[in-house]
């Protein structure tokens, strides 16, 4: 057959050898076919001169007219155009008059590129008539229920009608009617009467999120946005369509009828729900957060937010919110005062210190803190508690040295690298907006994706190669894809041809790498919580040998990277430095003696606590009972610890077991800085005044005071100034830099490393993301945000009498201060580990399956479960296994099975997925009604389960 027939192959019909059946493979789908719009001209480096409304301006060749006009400060009205999506030219609002050799023509500005010498008029009579005509058409069927519409006051249709629209209507007929509104998902309502068919929502769902669950139906003026029968618009990103809808057609359940835009106070901040750190505006009214709107940060989120980040903000109505201090009386936690609770906490801790010293206390948690909080707690633990038992991770992440020591990439670098290798994470569930960025990069052809994962993930459909390796054999796979010699047979359950192809990708990436960016970016995450971190840490170290490699950490919890950078890990001190190399430096600057040796991580602390060696444990915004992979180990640890202080915003399961509960100020009530998974530091704004809760740093200051140490901090700004001065990682990242014009994009630390944003400052675009600028002037005055007024006690009221350690920042050092020690080096790559055979691989009984468990976006965690709107979204737990596995067990789809391990058992429904390899049982982590943690032994390298048909065996 000739070359031209590649799309067709022929086979003989086995039933009738004489007949040739023509099998048609689907034709090759090219990247450009994914969107119907022509690809944006990428080679737009040279500039052209364009005359816009009589003014000559420079524009990038190939740039859309609308973008060039924006740059020149000329606003062209628009509805369907969104700067982060492909133009579709649907609404026809952006018609401008372009002069041509055969007279002038009206052209849509949103998808016609500028060319040199082009002369265009955006407000000529011809253009104005066309613009007014389109607006009149849009209003023909628009219900004009502005007075009861959530969009009223921030509505692009209202705004543009005032400027470009007709004064009155000429339409006398009956408008189109539909039921209004209809729920298209648990979170989103659709009012089709208000819809102007701009297609932004439909395009977002398909083009940006990859969840093509809404589309247009019908034709003519009956065209409506619709969901498919029996399939709601349940997307992790559904809130974005509400955000970008230019009218009030899409509204969100949580915000519906909550506020009027002119009553909102707002401040720009960063979402701390996961480690991506999307830029956002948070809006509040009457002290209550009402809404988040994504802000377009070019290096990070492009204006998008995931639904968890958007809707899981803490609310006063949340179930289990802690707002006042509590102390244990017998079996109960009773409300108390700050003074009493702090005193109780301090005395419990002092008692432990008196009996066992620093090694008998520990701090678990810290990933929900701001950098300033984390710094103060890090110092508090070392200086006031005299312990290095601090860990912001809950045994569910990666070794701190792995995360801190690997060379880092930015999201932009990953999106431009010839190759991205994802290891372990289901990015769509765990780092949702990073999924959007990576998916976009792959679809644009900017990068290629290789996935090393035991089970299918949200990114699997976009991977050029997928290695479904055997759990527990990641390191061997890493060796196979990086070593000099080609493997001859399968490795880690992955066939040789897949490995060869991945090796090919790595060498291709080496050839294609640009001069500045990395060749390969590896996103490294814990593959399963039922497997310890040894394999992934070893694999990371091996992959670090790939020439031109850089890493993105897949740790997902809020400010975990900030916490680690601030030393909230055993053996690490603020500034990404090691305790042993930085000890003298910090002893000098903190004027205190630091612990002699590295302390315990969370799992070490829990084991020690279970043995009765821990006298006081501080839970710092953490819930080990739910988040520590081994539920039984966590419980024994908490029971074994003699005294537990919890600092938290919510009464989670672990907090309920504490002796003292200190209410921490939630995200919207505090300010400070945040560090995302790139190491990007950004400023967190505060929108609501603190109630009786305190920010964590203040709690540390008060506790320290009670313990006789004056930490002396009074504001996040002051703490940051000290961090900037002392931390070798944060030099130059002053508060001025962070709150200045580039603050929106944050600063990747250390400064001077890859990715420091130099992009032009972009104004907020009210047409791209309506709702932000119209409320901006209501920004809260800083003076109304000071702490300690509303609380039961205040910092000054509780100053202790005699500080034990003098507070002595560097600048204060007197004449007799010792010679300042040299700045310690940042943590480096760990040595290539020798895999230790010591830990058992867990006991696999005959017919057992390897348990794999990872997080889902909607889970049984506090953020989701305490929210009225989100709690119902978590799916019920299911066991997912290969169909052959279920067939062997005689279990049908949906049937109940009992899953048991040496630790415990669980009854869940079974579900078949051919994408899951044989020998594996996948159960999502921590879903309501099924705690996988109860099956897991954290001491085991792998965990095995047996599965039996029928429930509750």
């Amino acid at each position: 057959m000739s070359e031209t027939n590649s799309a067709v192959s022929q086979v003989a019909d086995p039933a009738d050898p004489g007949v040739v059946v023509h099998l048609r493979k689907p034709p090759v789908v090219t990247a450009s076919a994914v969107g119907t719009a022509p690809p944006r001209t990428p080679s737009a480096s040279d500039t052209v001169t364009v005359t816009i409304d009589g003014r000559q301006v420079q524009a990038k060749a190939g740039e859309w007219i609308i973008d060039a006009a924006d740059q020149a400060g000329v606003y062209i009205p628009r509805f369907c155009y969104h700067p982060r999506m492909k133009p579709v030219g649907m609404c026809r609002m952006c018609l401008v008059e372009v002069e041509g050799p055969r007279g002038s023509t009206l052209m849509p500005a949103c998808f016609n590129p500028v060319s040199d010498g082009m002369t265009l008029h955006t407000r000529s009579p011809k253009a104005l008539k066309a613009q007014e005509g389109v607006l009149e058409f849009l209003l023909v069927n628009h219900p004009l229920d502005c007075p009861v519409c959530d969009k009223g006051g921030e509505c692009p249709l209202q705004d543009q009608t005032l400027t470009y629209g007709p004064g009155e209507t000429r339409f006398v007929e009956e408008k189109r009617h539909w039921d209004k509104p209809i729920a298209i998902s648990e979170l989103v309502y659709l009012d089709r009467e208000r819809c102007i068919q701009c297609g932004r929502c439909v395009r977002f769902a398909d083009e940006v999120a990859g969840d093509a669950l809404i589309d247009f139906a019908e034709r003519g003026d009956r065209t409506e946005v619709a969901v498919f029968p029996d399939s709601p618009y349940s997307s992790y990103f559904s809130g974005n369509v509400v955000q970008i809808c230019p009218v009030g057609a899409l509204t969100s359940k949580p915000y519906r009828f909550k506020a009027r835009p002119w009553d909102l106070e707002q401040v720009e901040t960063t979402c701390t729900s996961c480690a991506v750190g999307c830029r956002t505006v948070v809006q509040a009214t009457q002290g209550q957060v009402t809404r988040l709107i994504g802000v377009d940060s070019d290096p990070v989120n492009w204006g998008w937010l995931c639904d968890k980040g958007r809707f899981s903000y803490p609310d006063a109505s949340d179930a289990g919110r802690v707002s006042v201090p509590m102390i244990r009386e017998g079996d109960e936690l009773v409300e108390s005062t700050w003074a009493e609770a702090i005193a109780k906490a301090a005395s419990g801790i002092s008692a432990a210190l008196r009996f066992g010293g620093g090694s008998s206390v520990g701090v678990i948690g810290g990933a929900r803190l701001t950098n300033e909080d984390a710094y103060v707690w890090s110092k508090f633990a070392r200086v006031a508690l005299g312990t290095d038992n601090v860990d912001a991770q809950l045994g569910d992440g990666l070794p701190a040295q792995t995360v801190l020591g690997l060379p880092r990439a930015t999201i932009d670098q990953a999106a431009a690298a010839p190759l991205v290798i994802t290891v372990g994470s289901d990015v769509k569930d765990e780092l949702p907006v990073l999924y959007i960025r990576l998916r976009h990069a792959v679809l644009e052809g900017a990068t290629q994706l290789v996935e090393l994962n035991t089970t299918p993930t949200g990114l699997s459909p976009y991977a050029a190669d997928t290695a479904r390796y055997k759990p527990g054999e990641l390191a061997a796979l890493a060796v196979a894809i990086t070593s000099k010699s080609e493997p001859t047979g399968p490795v880690a359950g992955v066939d040789a041809s897949t490995i060869a192809s991945i090796r090919g990708h790595i060498s291709r990436a080496g050839r294609e790498a640009g001069p500045s960016g990395p060749a390969v970016v590896v996103l490294i995450a814990r593959p399963s919580l039922a497997e310890n971190d040894e394999q992934v840490a070893t694999a990371a170290r091996i992959l670090a040998e790939i020439p031109g490699v850089a890493f993105l950490s897949g740790l997902r919890r809020g400010n975990i990277h900030g916490a680690l950078d601030m030393g909230m890990a055993p053996g690490i001190l603020p500034g990404r430095v090691a305790l042993d190399t930085a000890r003298s430096y910090y002893e000098h600057h903190w004027a205190a003696e630091l612990p002699a040796e590295a302390g315990l991580d969370t799992s070490g602390m829990l084991v020690d606590a279970a043995r009765g060696h821990i006298g006081a444990l501080v839970l710092l915004g953490s819930d080990p009972l739910v988040d520590f992979p081994d539920a039984d180990g966590a419980l024994r640890g908490l029971v074994g610890a003699r005294f537990v202080v919890a600092v938290d915003t919510h009464l989670n399961e672990s907090v309920r077991r504490a002796d003292v509960v200190l209410p921490a100020a939630p995200w919207s009530q505090r300010r400070g800085t945040f560090t995302n998974l790139e190491g990007r530091v950004s400023w967190l704004g505060q929108v609501t005044s603190p109630g009786s809760a305190w920010p964590e740093w203040m709690i540390a200051v008060e506790l320290a005071a009670r313990l006789g140490v004056d930490l002396g901090y009074e504001s996040p700004e002051g703490i940051w100034a000290e961090i900037e001065k002392l931390s070798p990682l944060h030099r130059g990242v002053t508060h001025e830099v962070l709150s200045g014009p580039y603050g929106r994009d944050g600063v990747v630390v250390p400064v001077g490393a890859s990715g420091h944003s130099t992009a032009a400052v972009r104004p907020l675009d009210p047409m791209a993301d309506p709702g932000i600028s119209s409320a901006e002037r209501h920004k809260v005055a800083a003076s109304s945000l000071s702490y300690g007024r509303a609380g039961a006690g205040s910092s000054s009221a509780m100053k202790p009498a005699q500080p034990r350690t003098a507070q002595a920042p560097a600048s204060d050092s007197g004449p007799d201060a010792q010679v300042e020690p040299a700045t310690p080096p940042l943590v480096g790559l760990p040595p290539v580990p020798v895999p230790s055979p010591s830990k058992p691989a867990g006991s696999a009984v005959g017919g057992a399956l390897t348990l794999v468990t990872r997080r889902k976006m909607w889970d049984g965690g506090t953020a989701v479960q305490s929210s009225t709107y989100l709690s119902g979204l978590a799916p019920p737990p299911v066991l997912v296994a290969n169909p052959a596995e279920l067939a062997a067990l005689g279990v049908a789809e949906g049937e109940k099975v009992t899953v048991s391990s040496a630790k415990g058992s669980l009854t869940v429904a079974a579900s078949a997925d051919a994408g899951v390899a044989r020998g594996i049982a996948v159960i999502a982590w921590n879903l309501p009604g099924g705690r996988v943690g109860e099956l897991i032994d954290a001491g085991d390298r792998l965990n095995f389960v047996s599965v039996e048909p029928g429930g509750d065996k």
């Binding site: 799309a7 048609r24 719009a37 022509p38 849509p108 016609n112 058409f137 034709r219």
Partner: protein, 445 residues
């Protein structure tokens, strides 16, 4: 001149017994064009087609040979045959597919050979069940016969052909919407640029879209030579044209006639053709080239039915559907029916077409029902102007496709000629035409 004996190209076999079967087709010399084509180089055939100057028969009138010439020779190249024919009163392709499907297949394979396509899609209007059935049966026969598939007639050329039934939308006749539909998406015309599927078409690959009638001419051109084709007709309008004569004539139907050699008078009144207006009524107006074309009047009866001549009087030949209307026709109702069709078939992307179309439909309905105001006439024209600035023909297109601008012509040309009739509706508060002359039932869709 007797028109019945005019040279027939595409309809030559339509009256043969079981003309849609391969035996009938072969008996009439079928597949000789393809056999001959395979002995020629693609370039030689392309030259013949250029010589023949086959204007596209789908409405836009773009030369087939020139369109093929726009292909950059990148692989894969697709050929797509447009058999969506869904415009009211247009039924020529319907007859060709039902009556002579092998001719279409043969033409398609020849075109595929010239452009180097390995895959042909024939997109047929879903409401043509018999045409689809016969075309699919013919395709199976052609595969068995060796005229389609691998190594056609033992040559090194191979091509696959797929029949794709449309899903019921007129807009899928617009070539880029057709491609979207083939890709499994909603039938949306694509934004231009790129202006031609030959640059970026199906699945992003260069694609040629040709009309059924256009392609059906190819076997004849290969056998008889491009110059013999070009010897027929006049100016740019070469060969024959299959005219679908509908409306108020005594003998409606398809007539294949040497192009540019007949006038409207010939077509409507010649006893061998239209045979005159029904009931010998008075001719009131003519829709000369499909319902999007501006109406012309009895004074244009002697205009030739060539592309150029009709363009010369401010209208268009389009796909060749001619609709004479007699004096019993209500011009408001006629415009309303046409606008209603276009509006309801509007894909809904462009605001002017989607909303403006609906608005026009409602205003016309109001006037027809006796609820009009005199100011409505200016309003109608202004809405038309906002859909199609200048209300000119060909339109200064400011919408994605030309469906939107297809609404104003029947209103603008109707109002220009029959303003009094509109005013009569308004002043009398009812339609002045006797109800028994109205179609019995106007479906309210």
């Amino acid at each position: 001149m007797t028109f019945g004996e005019s040279t027939r190209i595409v309809t030559a076999r339509l009256h043969n017994e079981r003309s849609w079967t391969i035996s009938s087709y072969l008996a009439a010399g079928g597949y000789q064009g393809l056999r001959k084509a395979l002995t020629m180089t693609p370039k030689e055939i392309h030259d013949q087609v250029n010589t023949a100057n086959i204007l596209g028969r789908g409405g836009a009138g773009f030369e087939a040979g020139r369109k093929w010439g726009m292909l950059r020779q990148a692989q894969p190249v697709y050929l797509t045959i447009n058999g969506d024919e869904s415009e009211p009163a247009t039924f020529k392709d319907h007859a060709l597919i039902e009556g002579d499907p092998h001719q279409l297949i043969e033409g398609a394979v020849i075109a595929a050979y010239v452009i180097g396509a390995a895959q042909v899609f024939i997109f047929v209007r879903g409401e043509f069940p018999l045409a689809i059935e016969r075309l699919q049966a013919a395709l199976n026969e052609a595969y068995d016969y060796g005229a389609v598939g691998a190594n056609i007639f033992a040559s090194s050329f191979s091509v696959d052909v797929v029949v794709h039934p449309g899903a019921g939308a007129y807009i899928c006749g617009e070539e880029t919407a057709l491609l979207e539909s083939l890709e499994g998406k909603r039938g949306y015309p694509r934004i231009k640029p790129p202006f031609f599927p030959a640059v970026m078409g199906l699945y992003g690959a260069p694609t040629i879209v040709n009309n059924v009638e256009t392609v059906s001419n190819l076997p004849w051109v290969v056998i008889n030579g491009g110059d013999n084709f070009a010897a027929l007709g006049e100016g740019r309008s070469k060969g024959t044209k299959l005219l679908a004569l509908a409306g108020h004539v005594k003998r409606p139907g398809n007539y294949e006639l040497e192009w540019a050699k007949v006038t409207f008078r010939d077509l409507i009144f010649d006893p061998a053709l239209g045979g005159g207006i029904r009931d010998d009524n008075e001719l009131k107006a003519i829709i000369p080239g499909g319902v999007s074309s501006p109406w012309i009047g009895p004074e244009h009866l002697d205009v030739s039915l060539s592309n150029e001549a009709i363009a010369g009087i401010g209208s268009m030949a389009g796909s060749g559907s001619v609709i004479p209307m007699d004096h019993t026709t209500c011009m408001v109702r006629a415009a309303w029916r046409i606008v209603r069709f276009f509006h309801r078939e509007s894909c809904g992307q462009c605001t002017p077409c989607r909303e403006g179309g609906g608005w026009l439909e409602k205003i016309l309905e109001r006037i027809e029902m006796g609820q009009g105001r005199e100011s409505d006439l200016d309003l109608l024209m202004d809405v038309c102007d906002n859909i199609s600035p200048g209300v000119s023909w060909p339109p200064a297109q400011t919408t994605i496709c030309v469906l939107g601008p297809s609404m104003p012509p029947s209103i603008a040309s109707g109002l220009a000629r029959f303003r009094d009739e509109y005013l009569a509706h308004i002043r009398e508060g009812r339609c002045p035409f006797p109800p028994d002359r109205l179609p019995r039932r106007l479906a309210r869709v």
